[in-house]
Symmetry: C2
Subunit: 155 residues, 2 copies
Amino acid sequence: MNDDIRPGEVACALPGAFDAGLYFIGRIRTPWARRADCPRRGDPDGPLCLVEIDARWRGALAGLETGGELQLLYFMHEARRDLVLQTPRGRAAPVGTFALRSPVRPNPIASSIVQLETIEGGTLGVRGLDCLDGTPLVDIKPWRPARARSKTDQP
Amino acid sequence: MNDDIRPGEVACALPGAFDAGLYFIGRIRTPWARRADCPRRGDPDGPLCLVEIDARWRGALAGLETGGELQLLYFMHEARRDLVLQTPRGRAAPVGTFALRSPVRPNPIASSIVQLETIEGGTLGVRGLDCLDGTPLVDIKPWRPARARSKTDQP
């Protein structure tokens, strides 16, 4: 974790207790061992990454089919959580945390849309990720782009 | 919470402890007081819903502008978390939890894309939600559809 504050950044005092808990349901294997190595955004033509589901949850993969898209939620466990204003690399001025998709946020949950290419037992092969090797997985959902995009596209 | 199990549904034993914690950062006000009243999916032409941000996090709204889209993450606090196979209303056979966007999942975090219509102090007015009145808010992110959709659309 990096606790440096850059000019213009503002931290708040975090609450004394959490309001709810997360179960990690698996791990994501990627080629990126350090944060500086991660791409800034997932690339659908990027490397195949492996999503390893814990044995307890493997039965919940029933019904998934390769060739479609999934939404993955994962926990950016190395990010600090108390910045209200932050200055990402390459930005001149600080901006509100909720106007950014930075990992630094009160609940560091990332959401990515990936292509599902392989399913082998409890391991999914996907493209489109951007995260550190070993990132804890929080959820897998089918992705239906029409769902929230345009009423006229919906079935 | 509804703990009934339908035919074909399979529950697992949940882990004995959580792996990480969530802070609720606000509440969502919608017209729907019971789960049965909620729409099955958010509608961009649906009613205006209010997203009330806790005072601690209001500064993190800096930089948001009306007229665009946001991704909201929220916690479906009434859903059970232990079903591996489930049979949603209207389905004949059970299917894996990760092949559904049902609220019933190990980490009941919903993700919706909404239209941001108003910002008044710490309250956002949005359209496109589907959740219960009082639902705890977990995150707000700008939504950039090109980001994960198609490489050629990216800047």
